[in-house]
Symmetry: C2
Subunit: 556 residues, 2 copies
């Protein structure tokens, strides 16, 4: 019996389209196959007859007639792709293929998804500036890419702890997080049923799944770090690899000699994995097996195409500790390990802080790129201040937008419960939406070719008083509409040519519409000509009794 046969687990997952959106698939021809690739998009149809297609992470759950059987798992779409290709130099990794000049179906799929050239995708993977986390044992996932040349991605952490949530809840949290845009999820489960929970998540996840194997290894030694061994860890990694984990956080940069560097810190070691490895190093007074056996780990990873997420076990946990010697010493070691992994054709990304004031953020990216050969940077926030527990999704979104603009490729979300408690379903949504807007802010600043179209479409709808379109184009349509309805609940207000802030009598947008309409009607194309139009407009105002803002009934 596999985990999914367990009928005592009955996840209820959210299905159906996001309000005002429709799931569509773009068909992309694949020269290696008779069947086209089907790339998902979230289509928002607008009241003016046009539409916009947005990047979509939500899997089949948001199809209009979603036929979901969580006991069967998602369709294994990638299975034939994986089956039909030979290893390159013994590796089945996207990096190995990329270096060999092969454009995989995954790369082609991603190129369509991002609006990029397939060979550019290949070349970014070949040099390690981007990664495609796709364990061959997770054929259900929709290929995606993490790299500074592409859309900034967002990860959501889920996972049960000893008491607080069930397997079914975690499956729904995964579906829920991807519904709102999470590009990957990490299962950080501890406690009981860790294997089964992960199996349920992976078999039903349309996005890559990451883990921190040391957590499960620690459970196997009853929570005593000193009893951890390479063999226990290795077996845990293989167990998770076989399940299909796409990327794994490995805190291999916590060296014995770095531990004392944390002694004078305000907040010492705040990474769970980092503290486990530091405890091991102290107990044994030697370098950890993650470091000494790193090449053996690479050999395992290359057989599955698991991506390293080299963990920052010594990341700063407070503003005071940002950019200190402990942090950057570890980063240098992560750089060494990156080059070793790449020599094995294994993909690598690098985890980053944490808590960093605004003026120290750019240095993190610069050093990471320099030391780690531009491996994709994957940061947690960073929080730009420590003084706002309860609002750390915001303190960290400030830092996240900034660091992503400078080149971070994926952002790990932070929820309002950070430092205080475990996120519930609402917190997960708030965390994901907050990070999507931070990531998108960075996409705009980086000039991603598809980013600004979304803003412009929404702002045009706003300007033209197409309220429903404005809601539907929002990252979170439900919240946008419910906030509007709090002030002006009636249905006519959604077609009204004013908003609740200024009321019908005077509205700043209306005058510009008058100005613009006049310009267009008269075919004016230069500022000078428009200026002439202004003169006529002046006369027209007088004709209409000098009233710019007509009562609503008249303006309809």
């Amino acid at each position: 019996m596999t985990a999914l046969d367990d009928r005592s687990v009955q996840p209820t997952v959210t299905t159906g389209p996001v309000m005002g959106s429709q799931k569509v698939y773009h068909e992309v021809s694949d020269p290696d196959s008779a069947r086209p690739l089907r790339v998902p998009q979230r289509r928002v149809a607008l009241d003016n007859g046009s539409h916009i297609d947005l990047y979509d992470t939500s899997g089949p759950y948001t199809e209009s007639s979603a036929d979901v059987d969580v006991h069967a798992g998602l369709a294994r779409t990638r299975e034939p792709w994986i089956r039909d290709r030979e290893p390159v130099n013994g590796a089945v990794t996207q990096m190995a293929y990329a270096k060999a000049g092969v454009i995989t179906p995954e790369m082609r799929y991603i190129a369509a998804r991002e609006g990029m050239d397939p060979d550019f995708v290949r070349s970014e993977v070949a040099i390690g500036r981007a990664v495609i986390p796709v364990n061959r044992c997770h054929p259900e996932s929709e290929p995606m890419i993490i790299g500074k040349s592409f859309l900034v991605k967002v990860n959501a952490n889920i996972g049960n702890s000893a008491v607080t949530s069930s397997v079914a809840e975690e499956v729904e949290k995964m579906v829920w997080a991807t519904r709102w845009g999470s590009d990957t999820i990490m299962d950080l489960s501890t406690g009981k049923r860790i294997h089964e929970t992960r199996e349920w998540i992976i078999r039903n996840s349309p996005v890559p799944v990451g883990t921190v194997p040391i957590y499960q290894a620690l459970e196997k030694v009853d929570g005593d770090p000193a009893r951890l061994t390479w063999e226990i860890y290795r077996d845990t990694v293989i167990e998770q690899a076989e399940q299909g984990v796409d990327y794994m956080t490995v805190h291999a940069g916590v060296l014995l000699r770095y531990v004392p560097l944390t002694a004078r810190r305000v907040t010492g070691i705040v990474s769970r994995g980092g503290s486990i490895m530091a405890a091991w190093c102290l107990a044994h007074h030697q370098e950890s097996f993650l470091y000494t056996r790193f090449e053996e780990l690479c050999e395992i990873f290359r057989r599955y195409d698991i991506t390293f997420s080299l963990g920052d076990g010594l990341r700063p946990g407070s503003i005071a500790d940002a950019n200190d010697e402990a942090q950057f010493a570890e980063l240098r070691t992560l750089g060494e390990l990156t080059h070793i992994a790449r020599a094995h054709d294994v993909q690598v990304m690098i985890e980053g802080p944490g808590h960093v004031p605004l003026h120290k953020i750019a240095e993190n990216v610069r050093l990471e790129e320099e030391l780690c050969g531009e491996a994709p940077f994957y940061t947690l926030g960073p929080l730009a201040t420590d003084i706002a527990p309860g609002y750390d999704h915001i303190t960290s979104a400030i830092g996240a937008a900034q660091i992503a603009w400078h080149g971070t490729a994926m952002l790990c979300y932070v929820t309002p419960k950070e430092h205080l408690g475990l996120p519930n379903r609402d917190d997960v949504k708030t965390g994901v939406i907050t990070y999507k807007l931070a990531a998108h802010s960075a996409d705009l600043a980086k000039g991603h070719p598809r980013a600004q179209e979304w803003d412009d479409t929404l702002s045009t709808a706003r300007f033209e008083f197409r309220w429903q379109d404005q809601f539907h184009l929002a990252l979170d349509p439900e919240t946008a509409q419910s906030f509007h309805d709090e002030t002006l609940p009636a249905e006519p207000a959604k077609t009204a040519h004013f908003c609740s802030m200024c009321g019908p009598k005077f509205c700043s947008m209306k005058i510009t519409q008058d100005v613009r309409r006049y310009a267009e009607e008269n075919g004016l194309s230069t500022v000078a000509a428009i200026d002439q139009g202004m003169r006529d407009k002046s006369a027209e105002f007088a004709e209409h009794g000098q009233r710019v803002y007509l009562p609503m009934a008249e303006s309809e």
Copy 2:
């Protein structure tokens, strides 16, 4: 009968200390007076016996035995200061005194509040790089300063609209906003009882009050911009000046020739005041009275010491329109007007956008400083993306932190209801807290001498598992504690040496405490010595059965 005699208005305002805090006053001697200045602070007493005093904006409402009579208004503390000084060159402005080398009690008070030298305060005001908004008719206010060398300030907009809120509600909103840290408030009331609402707010406000006089002037002409005249506007300004308005937004930079520059924009003119003035210019086909009568306005302002907040009527309302010709053309005009006002010894700040992508933010500050002689910049956000209605407190906090780091002196808050509806009480609090954390992030990045102490104190409390201290030091202690209690409601959890995320079995902070305690006990002062300590620690771990994380009962 004055407005406050109206017993039909019965505001219920929030009083008493913020959770875990105590209002204290630092006494500062004033060479010009027998009585010391009493500078308010929010004192947080910590469980370890120490305390920290934080900048406080909340007025007497947060005293432990607050004796508040809203019908009487606050004490007129500044009255003797104002009475006891002669005009300089006919002006009673802080700028006039500063230029004449006079350190006013207001400057001395501010110096103590900010931890700066009084003569430095004076010199910043003299050159116009900082403003002290203190209408001589608002003697109830506690002096504060807005300038890039000082703590970044936050403004909250309040004000009733035609139907949705009463006078009493607005008074409470003012008290509520300042309780959470709003440094100034703007009363943007429209509709009925605009004069009475403002009177109630000013008489009870411990912070400077700003307005946009054109709103009230427009009410006087039944909402028809074309019927506005200089005389109606001037009389409105004087009416508000006599009430004690400390700063006024004046959209004097909207010139006729700039209006056509907005015709091709995605969102045209989004400023309410800007659209009113544009409508006036179009209707009359001439420059507005705000521009042509600007020097007369300066003469009024200098008699009261009202600070100009030169409005950005042509600010961008979308990412697409950021940093365009309309916006910067107006900014150049605001620069001209700044120099005119200063020649009249009138203080000036400059309003800024709006909606700006991250990579275009710095240019806004650079140009503003260059064109407007480093007059304090006062920005609304800016929003770093348009796609997240319902979350625009966050999209704008991202931009706000960034622009404040670059030099913006005051941030106008944005609430979650922006673009959608009118903020309620919860939204006001969310907006203020969000902006305080953004402002503080900038203070940290700018290296304000008092900023990081707060973060370090909170992070130390976090590291030492002083949960109550962590809550009390938070910008919003109530939310921090309630989030914690959702996961671990029991009282013992607040003294527990673990947090709800990792549980009692393994906690990353605990190991560092072990490391550090060992180092301290052994008087180790160098990294090398700590390293030796690590060796001993290794042996100690073995002695304790290799268990780093002792069960909770034992660790107590």
